[in-house]
């Protein structure tokens, strides 16, 4: 009797948990779609910036900017770690943090290097607290739809520090979105900015600069002059890239949560099956038992 009751109780709680995980899965799916739409929209901007840089390069202008220059000695490093504010998203945060900590240890091993660790997301903050590391900056304002204005403020500060020489290298540890089936934690160096001209070269292959491929050189007029435009576009490219890191992280978080919750729901389904079988057996055993008692009692009376 007690056994069947206990099973019913567990069955009920498993069913409740299944309801919750299933709902979370659906919510994550909806949020993922929204976040991905935003990421796709943002890609248009980055692509256009690449095109303009390619045009500048094609016009014979040399691509040089303080943000692109490798500093002679790296003594001030910043590592920005992008994690999520919420948990229940599988290996999302641990993957990013593992990568980030490996990089941090690598930097710590070098002598005479100052490290600023900045972290976004409550999960990362509490992890560092547990490791007894105090981050220089903490951000919690980035949810599943990071706003460009917020990223812009942070990027502005990095650009300023880099130009003043207070920052020699900026690494960002985040979950990169490759496709909806694949995301990977990476540590990327954003400052000094690299691959700007090469990235532009890529876009000329399929973007609007395509006519160049068939020998039609477009002769652009630069207003006020190419150098001025370059001065402005390099920081813009950096901001766009940093913003993309935040967007990728947001999209990957939702995918990770979706997958984790799908797994949890499936597990719950399996448990419900097992438990209901056990319950049925226990109930049947109890009925059989009672029947035997009744029959036994009746036989004793005769």
């Amino acid at each position: 009797m007690a056994n069947a009751r206990a099973i019913v109780k567990r069955l009920k709680s498993v069913k409740n948990i299944r309801k919750i995980t299933r709902t979370m899965e659906l919510i994550a799916t909806a949020r993922f779609k929204k976040a991905q739409d935003r990421a796709t929209e943002a890609a248009a901007y980055t692509r256009k910036i690449g095109e303009v840089v390619a045009d500048l390069a094609a016009a014979g202008g040399e691509i040089s900017h303080p943000l692109l220059k490798e500093p002679e000695n790296e003594s001030h490093l910043t590592v920005l770690v992008l994690t999520s504010n919420r948990g229940l998203c599988g290996g999302f945060n641990s993957g990013v943090l593992r990568k980030a900590m490996a990089r941090v240890r690598e930097i710590r091993a070098q002598a005479g290097v100052g490290l600023d660790l900045e972290v976004s997301g409550k999960r990362g903050i509490s992890y560092l607290k547990f490791q007894q590391i105090t981050p220089t900056e903490k951000y919690t304002q980035f949810e599943d739809q990071p706003a460009f204005a917020d990223v812009d403020a942070i990027a502005d500060r990095y650009v300023r520090e880099f130009l003043n020489g207070n920052l020699d290298r900026l690494d960002v540890a985040y979950q990169r979105f490759v496709s909806s089936g694949k995301q990977e934690p990476v540590v990327e160096t954003l400052l000094p900015l690299s691959g700007l001209a090469e990235g532009a070269g890529d876009s000329s292959g399929n973007g609007a600069a395509a006519p160049k491929a068939d020998g039609r050189q477009v002769d652009y007029e630069f207003l006020p002059n190419p150098k001025d435009i370059l001065d402005e576009i390099v920081p813009a490219a950096f901001k766009a890239r940093l913003f993309k890191c935040f967007l990728d992280s947001a999209v990957s978080e939702q995918i990770a949560r979706m997958v984790a919750m799908k797994g949890a729901t499936e597990n719950a389904d399996e448990m419900i099956g097992d438990l209901s079988q056990k319950y049925n057996r226990a109930r049947q055993a109890q009925i059989t038992n009672e029947l035997a008692e009744v029959i036994g009692g009746a036989a004793a009376l005769e």
Partner: protein, 144 residues
């Protein structure tokens, strides 16, 4: 012969469509772009971007429409063979763009007085301050 305009911010593409004319603020003054303009890449200033002849979903001419743009770039590229419209493509890349009706004048004024009360200690801070002032003044002036 209309031209194609796309107004792009890092967050989203606000507008893509065929228009008859675009007026926009460059770093050193206003500029107008008509179909068939020579290819150009230019830095934007702060101010109103006005388009004429933008058609909405039901193909009704919307007359003049304006947005406030806060810096960025504009690229005018010639049309490619096979493009739908032949007047070229204007791509406006800006950090922020909004219709004048969405500008919060009160907040912008408050920010302007805050920025103006800053005492810059370095030449860079001075540049930054005057840039912020220019942006906010243009924003207030552009408000509907």
């Amino acid at each position: 012969m209309p031209l194609t305009l796309s107004l792009v911010t890092p967050e989203k593409t606000l507008l893509t469509g065929a228009v008859d004319e675009v007026k926009l603020p460059l770093a050193d003054g206003m500029a107008g772009i008509l179909p068939g303009r020579a290819p150009m890449v230019a830095r934007l200033g702060y101010g109103r971007l006005t388009v004429r002849g933008l058609k909405d979903a039901s193909n009704v001419d919307g007359g003049e429409q304006t947005w406030f743009v806060a810096g960025g770039f504009v690229q005018v590229s010639p049309s490619k063979p096979g493009d739908e419209v032949s007047g070229g493509t204007v791509s406006v890349l800006t950090n922020r763009a909004m219709p004048p009706s969405e500008i919060d004048v009160v907040a912008a004024k408050a920010e302007l007085s805050e920025v103006s009360s800053r005492v810059p200690s370095t030449p860079e801070a001075r540049t930054l301050q005057s840039r912020d002032q220019d942006r906010l003044r243009a924003m207030i002036a552009s408000a509907a």
